[in-house]
Homo-oligomer: 370 residues x 2
């Protein structure tokens, strides 16, 4: 009925508690340096009036927003069909919530959107950003570094200038750390990633350990660092694998089916497959069954992700490389928040102590398919 009863202000709380605005403010913000009886009075006034601080007024003076942007570049619809983001988002959301930060979601879909996001971030509406930029040629990371907003990337971003290759991961990490410095308002550009390369090595070694000598690999889209890293891991173990044992795919079940058919046509004698994710592994499994090949007796199969409604429901249940996706999200948020806190304090010297990249380990989950 009544149109939006005017929300009580700090002034009102102070009046009701019989103290000054300053004291009321102190109590609302933790109550340090205020004697107990007053704290109590103010607290009661807050409850009675249903006082909620006006965030806009607060931000105006503190220059903090307690809000973090999550930027998801979405070149194709596929990005979202994947539960991957959803899980990371969940982890992020939980962590931000736990620290009373809001999550501002920015979905981008094209060149002009990038400009918009850049403007938004530079506009200082949020304290920091969590960015998912999967594709190698994405201009977003560059834009964001220039915007000078504290940022944590999800997955190793690639801001090399085109070249690439077989350098070992250590070199890459160092590289990232180097470049991290010098932009972003004094502090490294950070990222969180799974140890894709090592996970892939573990998977392939497992297959080899099973006595499989003709191991095929269904890759993900190779313009994504995660897929590229997994391929690198595969190659680390199968140094001189027949190139016909590698088929590029796209992380989807349908893509996995297609790739599996292709591989079987080229090398009908293959006896193991390492798929770059569970979804494509599921597709591969279907094709194998369709061709009358038994898993794991004839062909052993390993996936990647341990995406749960998928990996444990395939037939046979999938052996796979587990990465804790939700935890990655949490970690991204945690990293960013701690960075923001550090930046708030004067910081006695450049904090190069923070690692530029955090790589989470993976573990092999053994089920029936290998």
């Amino acid at each position: 009925m009544t149109d939006t009863a005017p929300r009580p202000t700090l002034e009102a709380v102070a009046a009701r508690a019989g103290v000054s605005r300053a004291t009321a403010s102190r109590v609302v913000n933790g109550g340090d340096g205020v004697r107990e009886p007053l704290v109590e009075r103010v607290r009661r006034a807050v409850d009675e009036l249903g006082y909620v601080p006006n965030q806009a007024a607060r931000s105006l003076v503190t220059r903090r927003h307690d809000a973090v942007a999550v930027v998801i570049a979405e070149p194709e619809t596929r990005v979202f069909a994947d539960p991957f983001f959803a899980l990371q988002l969940r982890g992020i959301s939980k962590e931000l919530t736990a620290h009373d930060n809001q999550l501002v979601l920015l979905l981008t879909e094209g060149r002009d959107d990038h400009a918009r996001v850049g403007r938004y971030l530079a506009g200082g509406h949020v304290d920091g950003a969590l960015v998912f930029s999967l594709h190698l040629d994405d201009p977003l990371p560059g834009l964001i570094r220039r915007a000078g907003v504290p940022t944590v990337f999800g997955g190793r971003p690639d801001w090399s200038d085109g070249e690439d290759g077989d350098r070992d991961p250590a070199a890459r990490d160092t590289d990232a750390a180097d470049r991290g410095e010098g932009a972003g308002g004094g502090g490294g550009v950070m990222y969180v990633d799974s140890d894709n390369r090592d996970g892939a090595r573990t998977a392939v070694r497992h297959l080899v350990g099973l006595g499989r000598t003709r191991v095929a690999h269904i890759t993900g889209p190779l313009d994504q660092t995660s897929a590229a890293d997994r391929l690198d891991g595969f190659r680390d173990v199968r140094v001189d694998a027949d190139p016909r044992l590698v088929e590029e795919s796209d992380f989807t079940p349908a893509g996995g089916e297609r790739a599996m058919r292709e591989l079987l046509d080229r090398r009908p004698d293959l006896n193991a497959v390492f798929a770059a994710n569970d979804l494509s592994a599921a597709g591969a499994l279907r094709v194998l069954r369709e061709r009358g090949l038994r898993v794991p007796q004839d062909v052993a199969v390993i996936g990647f992700d341990d995406m749960l409604p998928v990996a444990d429901q395939t037939d046979p249940p999938l052996t796979t490389v587990r990465q804790d996706i939700e935890e990655m999200g949490r970690l991204m948020a945690r990293l960013l928040l701690s960075r923001l806190d550090h930046r708030a304090t004067p910081a006695h010297g450049a904090d190069t102590g923070t690692p530029a990249g955090v790589i989470l380990p993976t573990t092999l989950i053994r089920r029936a398919s290998a």
Copy 2:
């Protein structure tokens, strides 16, 4: 290097353009009532300084935030495994972006989270909310109505007090409209939904039109209104169907497989299946093939959603009921924004003109499975 060069203020822009703050402000906000040469000067000053308005300062006086909360209640992980939300979110994001509004994402996961969301919304941090609350017994809709925030629901919310049944949809809509009034700070509680019931009817009629007399139905989780409505639609057409032809499931492929097996065991003679969504239809197809039944010759199958990487990739491609999910998201946002604009203007009288619920039509997409 330099720690966050102080952002230019409107004052600075005004000074550079040689006008007053007021004039600069007018130009920034559209430039009405300012003569051309001055507009030009101010515009240039804005560019040169890279001025971006301080949203916090603006909100402080306008009491608008140009931000909308999107609340997704997530009782189980599954909610997100479904690309459904992702698509709606995309639609919402596009529409909000087009109107320069921000999207604040709130994921909830339990009782205490509800309280938090309620507090947040009541706290006036956002101008409105878009809420997805799927489950019948969810306290969220009630909480939100009490918070007095303009809200649009995704999917028909159920705030009946437990009872329910076979009233026709018209009655339901009226009901919703009634209750919509009286809370939410003057204005109806609104929602956007697909015409699930009619879509189901169309699908089942199509099967009947194909001469199928023993039509089974794999439902979704019946505590969600969409699933319940589709079941109602099925029953509208198959008024006295054998109850053994209906099996409750959960919108997942695995659930679809399970339900299909169950149905075939109970009624091996069935010759058509209407699945409540494409994912469960895909599962059903696999079971049918496994049992050596041909689709559509032996059993015709229809899904629901027309979820694209799924429906057109099954074998055979799925005939299904299409709903434009992304458009639903767009519409939700559009509805909310227009409501917010209306509320801004004094509004000469209660605007009961706005429909409480918007029901989008569905269309049958014929592919090979029926």
